[in-house]
Symmetry: C2
Subunit: 208 residues, 2 copies
DNA sequence: GCTAACCCGTACATGTCTGTTCGACTTTCG
DNA sequence: CGAAAGTCGAACAGACATGTACGGGTTAGC
């Protein structure tokens, strides 16, 4: 949720009588600075203070509150921002095209790329925000994998003897685990995606 | 680390001059109540206040501080308590005996049983406590899996084309994921262990 | 049954975080 | 240029968590 509903209004448009006043360029700048700083801070420290976020954004604490009246509002903005940037990357993998196994490889590579930053954000938000809106967002990303796995099962490319939901969990769980291992230095950054794929494919393929 | 070093002293033993005074039975009762309550609270809410823990233990906040002078001390006690209870269960699986694949199945079943409660505790403690002592404890449990995987690789039962550390991560990651899925109602409790094994074995076996 | 150990509630000192207000200064934009 | 929009630091109020101190009541253990 953006702080106000008005944005990208063409310069020439006169504002309607009771509507919110236009937003200036430096305000826009502050807002993106805050959201991005918050994204970074929350990723590495779930309980950062608003003061710390403001400091990281190079902005006064009061300014932060001017745009995001509460911690929760800021959270929603951060999550929406992260999702908005992730969406097109995931879609670029075209998980609906070609053989299911190949599509999964593409989707995994894209997901890996996206996950690098926002790995902790979702778990954090799950606690701070209501678990309800969070679950929506998460499922929105889960859906791609679920749909692909479903298609692959019909084609005989993936196994059919385990619950579909569990297979989705398996994919996301190992995705997260790989990110954590890279961070901890236990897994080399460049080979992580291949390792992940080499682990997941045998686990998802039909047994025997 | 227990609050004091004296315990289980036979009733008849006179205490040595400068040593700590004996602990009474109700104190012992309070302590275990506190540790167990803390274990439950921390599992579902990482930042519970000391007051909340005391309340959950049915004990005054002051009493809590009487036994655990600081939050950190309480944490250590909780972790030690959890480990002490987990240790014999894991050893009962005898991961060193028999074929590696069979041993892994046994170890997974035991681990599953243990993990049910302490799933979140370690991740929490990693943040609150120094990452150093925590890493020791975690590795202590990891070691069983790592050693078993290492043996299985030598016997040809497990794959050799991925980093050993990553394979350990895979096991623990899916173990945690299964617990979370059961909690969320996405995976039936009784078939969870079998599902887990059916997923892990193909992922760890040599490919092709 | 007596004593020491233990428990409890209340209260206090301290610190941190949140959100808000105020007045003054700076930047944008027409 | 000039007014509106934005930003800033300082300071305040309220909430809440951590530890500590005190005094009166319970309970265990000899």
């Amino acid at each position: 949720m953006k702080p106000t509903e008005t944005r990208h209004r063409p310069a020439g448009a006169g504002r309607s009588p009771g509507a919110a006043p236009r937003r200036r360029a430096d305000a826009e700048r502050s807002i993106t600075a805050i959201v991005e700083a918050a994204q970074d801070c929350l990723a590495e420290q779930p309980q950062v203070s608003m003061a710390a976020i403001a400091r990281a954004a190079g902005v006064g604490r009061v300014t932060l509150y001017a745009h995001f009246p509460s911690r929760e509002v800021l959270f929603e903005a951060v999550i929406d921002h992260a999702i908005a940037k992730a969406e097109p990357v995931l879609d670029a993998a075209a998980p609906g095209d070609g053989p299911a196994a190949d599509a999964l490889c593409r989707l995994l590579r894209s997901s890996w790329q996206v996950l690098d930053r926002h790995r902790r954000l979702f778990e954090v938000a799950q606690h701070e925000l209501g678990a309800v809106r969070m679950r929506e967002r998460h499922d929105q990303a889960m859906a791609r994998v679920e749909q692909l796995l479903h298609r692959g099962r019909a084609e005989g490319a993936f196994r059919d003897d385990l619950p579909l939901a569990w297979m989705v969990t398996t994919v996301y769980s190992l995705l997260h685990a790989a990110a954590a291992d890279v961070n901890a230095g236990r897994l080399p950054q460049d080979s992580a995606a291949e390792t992940l794929i080499a682990t997941l494919l045998p686990a998802l393929r039909p047994p025997r």
